[in-house]
Every structure is written in structure tokens, then in C-alpha cells.
């Protein structure tokens, strides 16, 4: 929206992973538009607070609707939009701090409800906008501005967390591969249920993990990233657990359960039993 807006003064640092995620989301929304014929305004991007949330202002080309609210609350806002207007495509974008720390309490309930949205988490393992504090995914022992002698608690494992909480679609991607990432996001959008797309999106200023992700043969660094083998059965939860417990950062679809109905489907089914009464009829029940 803000490509030609001189008033908007926010910038990502050169090389920030979020550029790639933005590109992937633009690709995904265009793909969707071409596939469904629905206008761009049918998409609603609900953004968190932090570097990642600014994505909603930095999208180029045709503009979707956006919601840039308060820290940590992307999921319940997205639920409000989706359950109010089920025909809309609702996409959440948030960082690891927003989504997993202050917003962590909302993941379990939405997974249990199987809310039909797609959440893209941009994980850089640090609080960037507040200048380099430790986040849930910062590695144990890492020195940051808020952990001057090293991070004290163990790092979160988001993929395992989503699996345990019952997300019905879990994909893992890398910001350096926007085309591939777009495909994962499109599949998350198409999934009838709660879809998590967790993206490694390095922070070049405070936590540059490009080399770790991609490896460096000269320095003898093995890449953490690897493509999920074709034989992986994403419908098998046990196999998904095995995958996320291995060392390294898998890229692709880890888990997909298409058997569970979405929140909307359950609501439609359950509430069909309810008698529909007008206000006048409801008042009759209090008349004497």
C-alpha cells in the first residue's frame, strides 16, 4: 500500500528475511485471485506488532484489506473476521515474539477450534524492532541485549508445539525461497482448517542465520535446511513428530489432517439444531 506513500517511514534492514515473505504472500494472493476469480479485496491480512507486522503496509500491487492491531492478538482478531464473514480469506502475519510469546495463549484454542485461517509466522529468533532482545526461539545461551550473560531458558520448538496443540496443517519454509514459500502459503489458505506456515526469516542486524540455514561449504558449515523427503506421509502424525524431532530445519508440508471439520463446519452443524426465534417470539416467552 505504501510504495508511493512518502509519509510511511518504516523500512526493513537490507537483506531482511521479511522481504522474501512479503514477496511470497503477494505471489500467493495473486495465485489465489487467478484460481478463484475473487477480487483482491476478498483477502484480509491480520498483522501483529513488530518488524513482521509492517508487512501489511509494504505489500505491493493490488491491495488486500489489512488489520494492524495490538501486540499478540492476531489470532482472535482473525477469528472475528472469519466467523463474521466466512467468505473472506483471512491470513495472519506475525513474528515469533508476537505469535509465540505474548500471543502464545491463543494458538491452542484456535487449533482446537480448527479455525479456517492461514497463519504465517516469520521467525527471526529475536525481537528486532525493540533492538535485539531474546525471543522464544532464541537459542539457549545466546547473548542478546536482554540476556547479556546468555539466554537462560530453553528455546521453543514451534513446529512441535503446533503439532501438539492440534493444528491441522503445518508447513515449514524459508524466506529466501519466495516461490516455494508461496506454494506452501497457498496450500495453507486452501486447507479447510487451522493452517500454520512457519517461516525462517533471518534478521540481518541481530540474528543473521542465513549461513546456518543454507550452510557454507568453504567454512565446513552443513545447512540446517533440508527438503522434506517425498516419501514423508504428511497425514501420519507419528511421522510428523519424527520429522520435527530431527536436527535441522525441514522445508515443506510436515502435517496435514483433512478429516477434522473446521470451526465453521462444526458451528453450521451444531447450530442447525437451534430453534430460530424472532425477537417478538423470544419476548413471548417472558410474557404472562
Amino acid at each position: 500500500m505504501s510504495k508511493k506513500n512518502p509519509e510511511y517511514d518504516f523500512k526493513w534492514c537490507p537483506g531482511c528475511g521479511d522481504f522474501g515473505v512479503r514477496r511470497a504472500i503477494e505471489f500467493a494472493m495473486i495465485n489465489r485471485l487467478e484460481e478463484t476469480g475473487l477480487p483482491m479485496e476478498n483477502n484480509v491480512v491480520v498483522a501483529g506488532i513488530g518488524c513482521s507486522g509492517n508487512l501489511v503496509h509494504l505489500l505491493e500491487g493490488q491491495q488486500p484489506y489489512g488489520f494492524h492491531g495490538i501486540h499478540g492478538r492476531t489470532l482472535p482478531v482473525a477469528m472475528g473476521v472469519k466467523m463474521a464473514r466466512p467468505e473472506l480469506n483471512v491470513l495472519v502475519v506475525a513474528g515469533d515474539g508476537d505469535f509465540l510469546s505474548i500471543g502464545g495463549e491463543h494458538i491452542g484454542p484456535q487449533a482446537a477450534r480448527n479455525l479456517n485461517i492461514c497463519a504465517v509466522v516469520m521467525d527471526n529468533g529475536v525481537y528486532g524492532l525493540t533492538k535485539g532482545q531474546s525471543s522464544p526461539t532464541t537459542q539457549l545461551g545466546t547473548v542478546t541485549s536482554s540476556t547479556p550473560y546468555g539466554k537462560i531458558e530453553a528455546e521453543a520448538d514451534p513446529l512441535e508445539l503446533y503439532l501438539t496443540l492440534g493444528a491441522t496443517f503445518i508447513a515449514s519454509g524459508f524466506s529466501g525461497q519466495p516461490r516455494e514459500l508461496a506454494k506452501l502459503i497457498n496450500q495453507g489458505m486452501d486447507h479447510e482448517g487451522f493452517a500454520m506456515v512457519h517461516v525462517q526469516s533471518p534478521c540481518t542486524t541481530y540474528n543473521d542465520t542465513y549461513e546456518l540455514m543454507k550452510g557454507n561449504a568453504r567454512k565446513g558449515i552443513e545447512p540446517l535446511m533440508y527438503d522434506i523427503p517425498e516419501e514423508h506421509d504428511a497425514s501420519d502424525k507419528g511421522a510428523a513428530y519424527n520429522l520435527v524431532q530431527q536436527r535441522g530445519m525441514p522445508v515443506g508440508i510436515i502435517y496435514k489432517d483433512e478429516t477434522r471439520p473446521s470451526l465453521q463446519q462444526r458451528v453450521d452443524e451444531i447450530k442447525a439444531k437451534a430453534p430460530r426465534r424472532s425477537v417478538e417470539e423470544l419476548m413471548d416467552s417472558f410474557a404472562f
Binding site: M1, V44, H68, P76, A84, R85, H106
Partner: protein, 571 residues
Amino acid sequence: MQMRDFVVRFAGEGGQGVVTSAEGLAQASTQVGYHALTYATFPSQILGGPTWTQARISVDPILSAGDDVDVLVAFNREAYDTHREDVREGGLVIYNSNDFDLEGDDRSYGLPVDELARSTGNNRAANMVIMGALAHLVNMPQAYLEQFVEARFRRGRANDDEIIDSNNLALKLGRDESASSGFSLGDLTPPAMPEYPQIMLKGNEAICLGALAAGLDFYVGYPISPATTILVFMERNLVGEGKFAYQVSSEIESITTILGAGYAGKKAMTATAGPGFSLMSEGLGLGWMAEIPLVVVDVQRGGPATGLPTKTEQSDLLACMYPAHGDVKLPVIAVGTVEECFFGAVKALNWAERYQGPVILMTEMALAERVQNIHRPDLSKVQPERRLVYDGSNGYNRYQGYELSPMPLPGSPGAYVANGSEHDEMGDTTHLPSRHIQMTERRFSKLKLLEENEYEADNADEAVVMMPWGGSKGPALEAYNQLREQNVPVGWYYTMLLSPLPPALLEELKQKELVIVPELNYQGQFSGILRSQGVNAVSITQYTGLPFKVRDLVERITEMTNSHPKEMVRA
């Protein structure tokens, strides 16, 4: 002796039929044309615990639960010990002699409630035994009660007759037993059935009906006393095409979920009590900032923190008037009667749509759980409002200008970012001083759309006036009526529109020597707000967890008018 008014308190253990007895008496009375009001207080536990409910039956419309208890029905000894002192001189105690024995109280008699009920073959008829006994005391015709039994139990079942006969027998046994005690209180004046249609319901139910009448689409909530009954009602009844009601996992989810729904174009609401309201603070600020219509109902209980979950208080006013950090001022409506619960909810939803932002609707425990007969609201007079919706093409600036502008809805042209950061006209984040000035002024300007001169004024030429707010209206009005009968020179003002206050009302109040504000909190919250607006207001405060007694208000106001103006120093 003729009685126009009759107050019964039922006290015992939760589960002993305390509430159903009171509500049964109230229903039986309203069916023949009396007015009725119940006031209930519960223990904060699932089963058992001391509990009591008061029912007031009157020939005239009722304003308060009644200061003086004519009859105490004590289900156990503890209830007798606790409540005996509230029985007026000349009043009576009926105690359940199957539960305990009582000696040395010559204004009491035992009623073998359980035994009499059992003898009808219907153990569940115990309430009817008590109602029969009460009917004798005020010489209420048995036919009134039998009419109630017929209405309640005629449900087209095979054993209807059997059930009705056993209940009528229970009424008779209770009445005969009461008659044999030799006690009587007088003759309750025969009722005059109001000529308008009536409904009988609780304050929270009236809020639900009002919200539905105003076109509510979307409700989410989290269980919390005393707001839970609104969630329960909505889950059951807010159904159908485009409607949604759901229990979410916290009050933070409640507010942020309705923010999403309001943004997406729906009329959205949640209800909570003080602790939940505190959790909604940041979300309310976002609603103000991003300009999203929604309604939050605060059913006040005693506070702070967990406070008194099942007692009444009016101590959330400052929290509602100053609900969030930053430059925020949300509209606040506070209802004072069950009827106002209905119309206040309509107004709250309309205001939210009209000015495109959050509205706070305040009520309180004593109203939420009160059962009262009211004039059935005429739905043809309810005019739901709808926000100004943008229906042009793309390229629109949602936050343009210094005043309200049409709101685009997702799915249609006019895409923008609803932004909780300070933003420019397109909704993009900005830090320019000129923008913060424009947007701040824009947000505050919209409140002007809500200025309405809707208020009550009586004897408005008096220099000293009363102006209660919220649920203290009833006891205050009853006190006012008594004061005027005693020729005490005091006037009356009342509005449920606390912010923005009706401008004409504020002007009138500023001219008064003294504005007396009865309110259930320690700080005198509303009088402080009035003083900040240039009104010489003082509070009569009470912080017992219970509503005002009319007698106390009459005494205090009489004193204040006597000492005024010579001892009063203008603030």
C-alpha cells in the same frame, strides 16, 4: 389493615428453593395484576451456602427491593439468626419446623413444610406450601395462586391434572396451617391489571433482547459472574443466517474477536464484569484508534480484583470513563431499571454504529439478577441504526478528514489497513505531528454525533437536586418521592447517557447550588466526574455490596438540604 405493598425475604441454603419460592410468588402476583420485583444475592459457590432472595409485591410500580421485610421465611436456623433483625416491627417469621425449632420469638410460627409437601404426594410442592401460608397472611385470594399453578403446570402432559391437584392441595395445606397460627398482617389491596402488555424478566435478559432488537449479529464472551447469563442467552438464541455466538477462551479474546467482527461489518458485542473489563483495556483503545464499532457490557460487581463476584456495586465508573491508555474517551451508557436494560442496549448498539467506535454499556449485579415485570417493549419503536458504509471504487482514503467518514468493508472496494498505530488517511503508520493532530481531533469530533438531550428532570427549579446514576435510580427515586411528600425542597435529574452527558443537562446542572449523587462506591466516582465538568456535586456513598435503602437516602438528603446552603462551600 389495607396494605399496598408486601415484602417477603426467603433465606436458607442454596438449593432449598429460596430463589424459586421468591420468583414463584412474584410470577403468581404479576399474573393477577400486581407489580413484583425480586432481589437476589448468591453465595459464590455451586451448591449450598447461605443465600437469600427478596420479593416485593405491590399494587403500584416498584422502584426498589424494599427496606423493610414484612415476612421472613427462614429455611434454617442460620437464616433466621442472620435475617431476623431486618424484619420490621410487627412483621413475622415463618420457619421450616421440619428443619429446626424456635422458641421465644412471639412473632414467629413454624410451618412443617417438608411434611405437608410429602402429604400431597408431591415432594416438589414445598414452595406451594409456603406460598399458601404467605397468601393467608395478606389475605390474597386462593384463586390467584391456583391460576398461577394452572399456568405453570398445564403443559399437555398425561399427568397434568395430578400435578396441578397436588400443588393446589399444597397451597391449601400451607394456607390452613398459617390460618391456624392466628397471625395475619392485613389485606393486600386488590390489584389493578395494567392496561399495557407486560413481560417479566431479569435485567440481563432485557439487555439480550434489546441487543437482538437492535440487530446484533455477533457475540462472544467468557464466563464471569454476573455477566454469564448474557453469554448463555446468546449461545442459545443468537442463531441463524449471518449470526454467531461463541464462548472464547479469555476476555482478551472476547474484545479482540469482536474487534475483528466489527471491522468485518458486523454488529458485535461482548459482556463481562470488572476483572474481564480490565483485560479488555488495550483492545478498547484499539477500537477507538482504528474506529471499529462494537459494544462492551460491563455488569458491575464488587471490586477491585476478584472482589465480590456476587454482590452489587457501582465502582467501575472510572474504569469505564477512562478505559485505556492514551487520549481516549469512550461513550458510556449506564442503565438503571430492567426496562432501561432493553433500551440502553438498543442505544449502545446504535451509538457504536453511528460514531464507528466502541461503546460501553454499564449495568450491575442487582439489576442483572433482578426479576421484574415491565411494559413489553414495542419493537416498532426500535430503530436500528447502521454505520455509514463506503460503496465507491478503490482509491478511497478511509481515515480522511477531521470528522466521521464512510467505512469500507472487506470484500468490497476501498481496501485499507485498520491501524492501531497512529496512521495517515490510508491507514499506514505515520509519526508526523500534523497527522497525530488531525487523527486525534477526528476521533474526538465523532463524539459530537452522540450528544442527545435525553434526560429526566422534575422540580428542576430547585437549587438542590438529586442525580443518581445506574441502578441506584430506583431507591433514589423512591426516596425522592418521599422527600417531596415531606416538602423537602429537592429536585430530580437522571440520565442513562453518562458520556457524552446530554449538553442541556450539563448546563442545567452547572446552575445548581448542589447536586447530590447517591452511588455505590467509596470514592464518589460520578460526583468527581461532574465536578471536573464544573458541577457542584457531592456523593452519598455506600460500599456494602448491597443496594441503597430508601430510608437511609431520605435521612441523608434531608440532612444535606437542611445544612445547605449556609454550611456548604462552593467547590
